[in-house]
């Protein structure tokens, strides 16, 4: 469904992606694992058409996203649901209106139909009772579930999740995992998860890419990733302190730096 070929993206002369190759299969949950700062959010933005790659292309159903016209892009985005890391609920609307927002914007449904749809979507994430609350009254976990209800309001074909598990307590995490899984089942949508929470991601993904330093260092089913022989992949999924990825950022030798007497 999404095909990424030879993708490179540079910011301030630093490569965030270098020659990235990936395929997101229709109807499956694909996960991208990578340490923080590896540009995962940037990748989602490129898929959503907010950023353009400098080299290579991203294709959605065979169409290059970066060269879509404005109306094509907005049409494509109607089929896209994205769950942001910060939930990004609209603070000037209450929970009900947040979920109703895409429906009001993109459909001509009657008030009654919108009301029913919103309540169904909220019910799907177990928060029908929170409809009249303001976003500021929600806990982090609830806010993310509301954001999920909003993301699926238009029954999108493609769901993007940006760090869905970060900062969640174990219970909300469990709820989110089962929600993501069941949603991709009931909506028959294609899901793409970017995350650095290894174990949670591995439990729901059908196919996993591990990226590091702007390129794919490992890919396969969760089982294959866990059994990977690559030391980098092993270090990342086990969270060991030292390995191919150094704990210390490049710096002068500690001893030398400490010995220097400051001039003033």
């Amino acid at each position: 469904m999404i095909e990424i070929k030879g993708l490179s993206f540079k910011r301030d002369s630093r490569f965030i992606f270098q020659n990235l190759e990936m395929t997101v299969a229709q109807g499956k949950i694909t996960a991208i694992l990578g340490p923080s700062g590896s540009g995962k959010t940037t990748l989602l933005r490129m898929i959503g058409g907010q950023l353009k790659p400098q080299y290579g292309f991203l294709k959605y159903k065979g169409k290059d996203i970066a060269s879509m016209s404005r109306s094509e892009l907005f049409g494509f985005r109607k089929n896209l649901g994205m769950l942001f890391q910060s939930s990004a609920l609209f603070t000037d609307l209450n929970v009900f209106e947040n979920v109703a927002f895409p429906l009001r914007r993109h459909t001509n449904l009657s008030r009654q139909a919108i009301r029913d749809l919103v309540l169904m979507k909220l019910n799907a994430v177990g928060l029908r009772g929170a409809a009249s609350l303001e976003p500021s009254q929600l806990s982090g976990g609830m806010a993310r579930r509301v954001a999920l209800a909003r993301a699926i309001a238009l029954d999108p074909h493609l769901l993007l999740y940006d760090e869905p598990f970060t900062g969640q307590d174990p219970i909300s995490m469990g709820i989110l995992i089962s929600l993501i899984k069941s949603l991709s089942g009931t909506l028959n949508a294609t899901s793409l998860i970017v995350s650095h929470d290894v174990m949670e991601t591995l439990t729901i993904a059908d196919y996993v890419y591990v990226i590091f330093d702007g390129s794919v260092i490992g890919e396969g089913t969760p089982r294959e990733i866990l059994d990977s022989s690559s030391p980098k992949v092993q270090q990342f999924i086990n969270g060991t302190r030292n390995g191919p990825v150094p704990f210390h950022l490049d710096a002068e030798d500690l001893e030398k730096q400490l010995m220097v007497v400051e001039k003033n």
């Binding site: 942001f84 990004a88 009001r104």
Partner: protein, 259 residues
Amino acid sequence: MIALLDRLGVWALNYLSRLGRATSMWFTSVAHIPHGQDMHLVLNQLHHVGVRSVLIIVLSAFSIGAVIALQFHTQLSRFGAEDAVGLGLTLTLLRELGPVVTGLLFAGRAGSAITAEIGLMKTTEQLSSMEMMGVDPLYRIVAPRLWAGIISMPLLTIIFNVVGIFGGFIVAVQWLGSDPGGFWSGMQAGVELWNDIGKGLLKSLLFALVITWIAVFQGYDTEPTAEGVGLATTRTVVLSSVVVLAMDFFLTLIMYGDF
């Protein structure tokens, strides 16, 4: 030397590209005249930037009117020209202080709030998520605020002027005992509909365009961090105030200058 030129060049390019982005943002959003379901967004914003600024406008206008009347009265009564207090006060308010002080208060009260709100929306990815939903934040977020600001400012200026005159009336007539007939007739003989009232309101409309433009752009272009939003808010107030004062000088020169 070369390094200095280089820095200057980079600065100028950055500045120009910011100006370009700000201009294109303004035209894109203002061209979107809200209609249909967007009308209630404008209404909400009229409430936020207009209604909520009324209190501070009324309080400031009253005290400024009172103070001007007091000063004029003490000076003019030495020449027995108390009747000129009403006219002097009114012209000062209509031509200068009404639009300028309303502009400054508006920048501090509403402009900063607009910047902070939009900046926070950007920081919390609300703008980005809206875009991902296929809704242009320039239409949904920026346009209603621009329009509400442009509508509110002249209305607030009118209220400011009237409350200021009322404050002056209280001081000059009720308190210092000027003749009310002289107060009003002096005013009526000297105030002209277009030259004084009209041009003053035109000034406030121009201030409104600039203040809302600055406020909205600073919010939209903010660094998406808590610190960035803080800085952007400060910049809105400082920049709008300076621009309003500078603009006022040139507008006065053009409108009332003799050349």
